[in-house]
């Protein structure tokens, strides 16, 4: 039998869409507070929000006669007609939140307008009680108790209290970052978890939520194309995380999940962080309202963009520019690679920095003779350098003698003085106020990587003296059928020698024949698509680059360092590992106790 559902059932069903779990209650209520113009919002919860949620704000408030109306479905003050949806600037508009929450909890709505008495309306056991006066200051207080008490099926899907509290915290973190101009307070089971102050500086907001240490590891980004703009902060590659939990995207003030933005961000970071790690980013986008559709899902988390490509390239370029521009500094000895990820939550203002890589522009020696004649590298043998070094250190060194050495070093500004190679793996060089160690493999990898990305049209290719066999598994054969043109475009030549015998006849220059088969097999694992070029460049760079264990002569070391200097992102290899480490004189002096 078909029947029209009664109002109670309809409300519960609708509630399920908007109010999935405690965090969605908090989200709806906080958005209401923000739409009400509040600049102080506090959220208190008990037991993950299942037993109690209170959201209090200092917004405009609701007048006495409006209180019952607020609980009617599709009652909203935010739009008047459907045409307004096109121009939405408020967070909510559907008028679903309050009735939905009230339908599945014991609910109390108290509000006072400026200079007026407050009133409270209670919904208990599904029954609307009378509106009664309440002494309170301007604003609105919503209390939600025993959430889902009457929807046992929903209760079953709620995770542990901790999980739910974690979701609420994550939402409030994002909210606080999206609105640094609002002071947020989050209290969980009587404990203060988040507290931010009003500020007009987004970075201070981030710092209040995630700590100063993290904030100090962020790079500011900004970009604009036409009426679209993006600004915000991204984390340096070495604080990338194992999850995407620190990617917050704010579109026209609304916290959103957006694959397009995420993909653009991660593509920009693709070659500077290791696989399986995700960049930290807090990005605010402004896009004209008519170009986005937020009315995709009642929770409004998902948005539809009318011009995804434009948003993608806006975000990608803005982030990439900053990476190229700012990520020129090599990692310091004091912070071994990978330690930052674990440490960043610790607030530590004693962060040592201050090294400015001699920038690309300064470095781009107009003519190479000048650089060479300025500072000929008279390295001689490795031993002699170290001999000289040790005599410098052991002879009765006075402070001022050390300064003398430092002065003479001024000449070497244009590029580092190569001291030698260690363990056939690392190049040791002296540059300005530091000793720099280069990992020859990752340094070369970075150089080749950028070359393969750059020279799209004109990759030199070389024919082999004799074809080298290419032995493929059936899976690899199938893959080759799919992406053979992509692989051949990179400069590989593959020929059939008989029915199931393949051979490599040409390779891209810099990829030795001895690495060709492995390189092709690695490429066969990739899918054709927008990232293929980058992935292929990384594969070729890795295969073509010097290996640890290759003895290098002075000239080769010089070429490597010069090449690295002209890279866009010299400090990191395409897999995101560092290419160089620095040991400042300051640091050395500290370690040797010289500065006391």
């Amino acid at each position: 039998m078909i029947r029209v559902l009664d109002l109670d059932t309809v409300n519960k069903i609708a509630a399920g869409e908007v109010v999935e779990r405690p965090s969605s209650v908090v989200k709806e209520l906080v958005e209401n507070s923000l739409d009400a113009g509040a600049d102080e919002i506090s959220v208190e919860i008990l037991k993950g929000g299942m037993s109690f949620i209170r959201v209090r704000d200092n917004g405009r408030g609701i007048s006495k006669d409006q209180l019952p109306v607020a609980l009617e479905r599709h009652a909203t003050s935010k739009i008047a007609s459907v045409s307004d949806i096109e121009m939405i600037s408020s967070l909510g508009f559907r008028g679903e939140a309050l009735p939905s929450i009230a339908a599945v909890s014991n609910f109390q709505l108290a509000s006072a307008k400026e200079g007026q008495t407050g009133y409270v309306l209670e919904v208990y056991g599904g029954k609307l009680c009378d509106v009664v006066p309440k002494a309170m200051s301007k604003g609105t207080i919503v209390e939600v108790e025993d959430l889902f008490y009457n929807v046992p099926a929903r209760r079953k899907f709620i995770k542990s209290e901790n999980t739910e509290a974690g979701r609420i915290k994550k939402y409030l973190e994002a909210a606080a970052i999206s609105r640094p101009d609002v002071a947020f307070l989050f209290v969980k089971d009587g404990k203060k978890i988040i507290q931010t102050k009003k500020t007009d500086n987004q970075l201070l907001g981030i710092s209040a939520v995630f700590g100063e240490k993290l904030a100090s590891e962020l790079l500011e980004i900004e970009g604009r194309t036409g009426t679209y703009s993006v600004k915000g902060y991204v984390g340096k590659p070495d604080i990338a995380r194992g999850r995407r939990d620190m990617q917050i995207f704010i579109l026209n003030g609304r916290i959103v999940e957006c694959k397009t933005i995420q993909a653009a961000l991660e593509k920009a970071f693709y070659d500077v962080i290791p696989r399986g790690r995700f960049p930290i980013a807090f990005l605010c986008l402004d896009i004209p309202s008519q170009d986005i559709d937020v009315n995709v899902h009642p929770a409004k988390l998902l948005v539809r963009l009318s011009s995804e490509n434009q948003v993608f390239s806006l975000v990608h370029r803005a982030v990439k520019d900053v990476i190229n521009e700012r990520l020129l500094e090599p990692a310091s000895f004091a912070e071994p690679y990978g330690t930052k990820q674990r440490q960043h939550h610790r607030v530590d203002s004693n962060d040592q920095k201050g090294f400015e890589w001699v920038t690309k522009r300064e470095n781009q020696v107009g003519n190479v003779e000048e650089a060479v004649s300025f500072e000929p590298i008279k390295m001689g043998t490795r031993e002699s350098v170290w001999d000289r070094f040790s005599t410098e250190l052991t002879k009765d060194t006075k402070e001022d003698e050390l300064f003398l050495v430092r002065d003479s070093r001024e000449i070497s500004r244009s590029y580092p003085k190569i001291l030698g190679q260690a363990n056939k793996t690392y190049i040791i060089a002296e540059w300005d106020d530091a000793i720099i160690l280069y990992d020859q493999h990752s340094a070369h990898e970075r150089i080749l990587y950028e070359k393969y990305l750059d020279d799209k049209a004109n990759l030199p290719q070389t024919e082999l003296l004799f074809p080298l066999p290419l032995n493929l598994s059936p899976d690899e054969y199938a893959a080759l059928d799919r992406i053979r043109p992509n692989i051949e475009n990179l400069g590989f030549g593959i020929s059939e020698f008989g029915p199931s015998t393949l051979a490599i006849t040409h390779v891209p220059s810099d990829v030795p024949g001895s690495e060709a088969e492995e390189a092709v097999k690695e490429l066969l694992l990739e899918k054709p698509g927008p990232l293929f070029r980058q992935k292929a460049a990384a594969v070729l760079a890795c295969r073509g680059s010097l290996k640890a264990g290759n003895a290098l002569d002075e000239n080769q070391m010089r070429l490597l360092i010069l090449g690295l200097n002209s890279c866009k992102t010299p400090a990191l290899c395409p897999h995101g590992r560092p290419t160089m480490l620095r040991l400042d004189w300051n640091e050395l002096e500290k370690r040797f106790g010289r500065n006391r």
Binding site: Q364, V365, G366, N367, V368, E369, V372, H444, I447, L448, K451, N458, P460, Q461, T462, E463, L464, L465, F466, L468, H506, S509, D510, P512, G513, S514, E515, A516, E517, E518, S545, L546, K547, G549, N550, N555, Q556, L559, L560, I561, L562, G563, L564, N565, S566, C567
Partner: protein, 379 residues
């Protein structure tokens, strides 16, 4: 066992065998240096599955015997031994400890090191059985010549290749009354012929190992000979007091004879030093292991070597050559060009070109036994 030896002698012998001694191995004896004292001579051996080295050195033997001592430890002790004191080594048969001191009763230094079990040490490989059965072949070759051959080819081998070991190898092949020494990494190839050696056998040995073996050879004294024995699985090098045995690489070496061009359309003859220096100068413009291409342009009697057009500039150098045939433009990897030219000795080098996308052949009347071959770059 008890003997005394001069530090320098013992050190150089230990250094020779050290390459075959492993720093760590699941087979403990491979980490040891084996020393046998007999008559008035020490035999010192290092060995592992691929490489065995034996060398002999004079010493004062007081009591014959054998010890097997941890290689790293022993060589460090010998290296740090004062130059003016002999090294006195005695095996305490009760404790099986090797006692190392300077032979004086009141020696200021004394070390006691456990000897490993000498009976576990593998027998040093020997080719006599294969020689008797006619499976092996041996020759006497001038050390000077073999060393030259190895140095002129080893650089053309690939540095690392785990799945195609033949690209990291030097081929020794006796054929048509010559011993051919060949190496290639698939981009270039070095080919050296030593005449006057009969037989029909071939062997591949890693270029790294062979370069190390070449270091034992004398390139000054024309008279000195090396005794080379090739068996189906091993190569034996008897150089003065030292024998090195290497296991051969298995597989098929590329068909090197087929890739050597037989025709050319352009031939230039150039003063070797001139072109080596020119390439070296142009290489200044080449940065960072990328864009390694240099362009060679041959017009009439001039060869122009030019760097590519870089964002920071370019360079070129023109040198005089004797030319036969057509004008030509060709791009090459400067490293291959430079290393190849440097492998030649003598005044002049000839470069033979067929076209801008075909292999370039290098030869020299000053070094007729050697050929070098490299592929150009295509843009």
């Amino acid at each position: 066992m008890h003997f005394q030896c001069v530090k320098e002698l013992l050190l150089s012998s230990v250094n020779i065998v050290q390459k075959a001694v492993q720093s760590s191995s699941s087979i403990e004896v491979y980490t040891g240096i084996f020393i046998e004292a007999s008559e008035n001579e020490l035999t010192i051996i290092g060995t592992n599955t691929d490489l065995s080295i034996r060398t002999q050195v004079k010493a004062d033997i007081f009591k014959p015997g054998k010890i097997l001592i941890e290689g790293k430890l022993f060589s460090d002790i010998v290296r740090k031994w004062p130059a003016d004191k002999p090294i006195n080594i005695l095996l305490d048969e009760n404790t099986n400890n090797v006692i190392i001191d300077d032979g004086n009763k009141n020696s200021s230094f004394k070390a006691e090191v456990k000897s490993m079990n000498v009976d576990d040490y593998p027998v040093f490989p020997d080719a006599s059985k294969e020689l008797e059965e006619g499976l092996a072949k041996s020759w006497n070759i001038s050390q000077n010549q073999l060393k030259k051959a190895i140095n002129a080819t080893a650089f053309a081998a690939a540095k690392v290749d785990h799945s195609r070991l033949y690209l990291t190898a030097i081929l020794l092949e006796s054929k048509d009354g010559q011993l051919r020494v060949v190496a290639t990494d698939s981009h270039r190839l070095g080919y050296y012929k030593i005449p006057g050696l009969d037989g029909d056998i071939s062997a591949m040995i890693t270029a790294d190992d062979l370069s190390d073996i070449a270091k034992l050879m004398d390139d000054e004294d024309e008279e000195k000979q090396i005794h080379l024995t090739l068996t189906p699985r091993r190569a034996f090098f008897d150089i003065d007091n030292t024998t090195v045995v290497t296991r051969l690489i298995e597989g098929n070496f590329p068909p090197y004879e087929k890739v050597i061009p037989t025709q050319h359309n352009t031939k230039v003859k150039v003063e070797r030093k001139l072109i080596v220096d020119a390439v070296d100068r142009i290489a200044v413009m080449i940065r960072g292991g990328t864009a390694l291409a240099v362009k060679l342009t041959i017009v009439d009697n001039f060869l122009t070597i030019a760097s590519g057009e870089m964002e920071y500039g370019n360079a070129k150098e023109e040198i005089y050559v004797e030319k036969e045939g057509e004008n030509l433009e060709i791009k090459v990897d400067y490293r291959f060009l430079f290393e190849g030219l440097k492998a030649f000795t003598g005044e002049n080098v000839e470069m033979l070109f067929k076209g801008s996308d075909s292999a370039i052949l290098f030869k020299s009347s000053d070094m007729p036994e050697y050929l070098y071959l490299m592929m150009p770059l295509n843009f």
